[in-house]
Symmetry: C2
Subunit: 134 residues, 2 copies
């Protein structure tokens, strides 16, 4: 069911410093910061040959990563995103097997303009998983 690893998302307390680390120290290609007010984050994309790293910084008062950074002030890996072809079929398969989908179970439009769902870390080896329909 799951396809490509779409991205690894890293929450960072200082977006400029994180972008400089990836650009200057690790020598990767990084984008300009991109504000995503609907998703409560500003994002820098790190383009690798086979996938992306997304450096996420809170934007606005209800950022979904504010709590994570309060617990891990130095930042850390926040989630991994797998691609699926049909997000409703994926959700139904997961729920039929007893896995928990976060929120009300209805896909939202994610930061890439495509339908996404998040899965409960307790059902997936302690890691937060995003599914994105591609």
């Amino acid at each position: 069911m799951i396809g490509r690893l779409n991205h690894v998302a890293i929450a960072v307390p200082d977006l400029e410093a994180a972008a400089a680390t990836y650009r200057d120290t690790l020598g990767a290609r990084v984008s300009a910061p991109q504000a995503e007010p609907d998703h409560g984050v500003t994002v820098v994309f790190v383009e690798l040959p086979n996938t992306k790293i997304e450096l996420l910084h809170p934007l606005g008062d209800n950022s979904p990563i504010a709590g994570f950074l309060a617990k891990s002030p130095a930042g850390g890996i926040h989630h991994i995103c797998y691609e699926v072809e049909d997000i409703l079929a994926a959700r139904d398969r997961l729920q039929a097997q007893g896995a928990r989908v976060l929120g009300d179970g209805e896909p939202k439009i994610g930061a890439h303009g495509k339908p996404v769902l998040f899965l409960h870390p307790k059902d997936f080896c302690g890691s937060l998983i995003e599914l994105e329909q591609v």
Copy 2:
């Protein structure tokens, strides 16, 4: 400098259950468990079209992931591995910029039979990074 994302490593408290989650619930192709006594882990490889997930379980008395699982008993994302062409050149560049390489700074032969180094999470957005020469 960094190239492909070689893998994302997830430490898991129950390798059989984690493999079943990826195989049956997420519908991915997973390998049989592979003992890596020299590295203190048993690994299940999850093959995605563009990269791998490695499910790691402690093996032996001095596993490098035992401490992580003691702090996070449900498991979690342990590290991400980026490929480099020349690990000594990568190390020298990182150290020249003040980034800390773990251990004595000399590459070790990693679980894939290739030279690897680990970088200090405090210098890389709170995430443990492995570099592997390919």
